[in-house]
Symmetry: C2
Amino acid sequence: MATACASASSLLGEGEARRREALVRQSPLFSEIPAAEYREIASAAHEKHFARRQTMFLEGDPVRRVVLLTSGSAKIVQLGQSGTEVILGVRGPGEVVGTVGLRPQDRHCSTALALAPSTALVWDSAAFEALSQRSAQLRRNITHILCQQLHELEERYREISTERVSVRLSHQLVRLLNQLGRRVNGQLEIRLSREELAQLTGTTLFTVSRLLSDWNQRGIVSTRREAVSVHDPQALAQLGEAE
Amino acid sequence: MATACASASSLLGEGEARRREALVRQSPLFSEIPAAEYREIASAAHEKHFARRQTMFLEGDPVRRVVLLTSGSAKIVQLGQSGTEVILGVRGPGEVVGTVGLRPQDRHCSTALALAPSTALVWDSAAFEALSQRSAQLRRNITHILCQQLHELEERYREISTERVSVRLSHQLVRLLNQLGRRVNGQLEIRLSREELAQLTGTTLFTVSRLLSDWNQRGIVSTRREAVSVHDPQALAQLGEAE
DNA sequence: GGACATCTTTGCTCTTCCGCAAAGAGTTCG
DNA sequence: CGAACTCTTTGCGGAAGAGCAAAGATGTCC
């Protein structure tokens, strides 16, 4: 369930085309793209729904499609031998799930799972490749997104190499706040379990739990099941430097 | 010293143009590029020499040029607050030093240092940007290189999150073997210090020294000052799985 | 060639954090 | 509504590896 295509491009009504165009316009993938190209790009997409925990693609699968999240969120994971799971990153609305820039003949080198019920615009990857051949700006955007992702991972790599867990976790929470923070009665909330936070920062759910309990008592965050609300983002960011 | 440009493009002799073309042809950056574009690209470059330990660019510098190594090697590092240094990667002949795809208005987010006396072809980054606008294949190559670098860092991130130091070090040595391995009387040798290996794998020079001493006694590697020769690459690769 | 600088080894101690266990809290579903 | 799941907390060892110190090895420069 929840995987059926909502509509084929040829059947788009004017209203649907508008709505979709607005979604596409917000994404960094399509920034600075001339209006004329918009229509063509948007109309080539299908809409797709994913249930919570549904896999979007598996490591090793051929890259069949390009998936642009329009609502919800996803995690990009890699599996070790003995069931260990590392989260390479998370994606929110407007972001592409899966390495953008991979060619149709390539294979995914990670697995994507929906963190929440999500909707996405989906292109056939060969068709998307063709679109990117025609749009210099689209290619530039792809390059730019890759540079940013590389930069973020480099930052995380530096942290995991040199910083202790408390620093890594607090910085990761700040990053998540900007990327996936949801406003829930005046508080920015991150909807991830202790274990997922551990898999993002290279530690264990126990250590995450202990740190969050501590910060909770200090009034910096408040913890709920599978969620963390941040009261004081500044204090969180500075937790690293002093301690 | 050793930083002067060897020659301006306008002064290239026919022999020099040929030699340079051959260098460029080997690089993944220029693979599949039509011969006609070659000449133009190659003739826009300057040649530059770097002494051992010379910095090629610093974190925070504006991206002024694109540097393609033709001989020697370099390390890409990031500096922490208190002098801690992490090596994000190393580069050998045919590889671009510094994140390819960055625009002239961007800034470097890492520092590059020559590991050995090196030569490179250097383009003004605005000029290179212009070249890449005209060559669709060049843009594709840039995307491809970024995907590969992202993938390698993802792999290292998974390892540093889930594997113990011995596994990380042995796998890193295998990767280095393929990338920078130099044949020295029948042995593949990696010319990096214990500390640099530690900075690559997120550990300390002490731990690296202890592991290499152990593997040395077991006949898998032989260690020299600022170098490691690998006798048995297979045993090295498998060190991870069993132990 | 000898003094100096740098890199490496090795022993020892100490901290951080992992890993297990068991109890507690919060959901879901019949 | 209560039983079954799943997620979280917390306590308690224990292990991996960090960090320091001091000696040894190797290269470099005058």
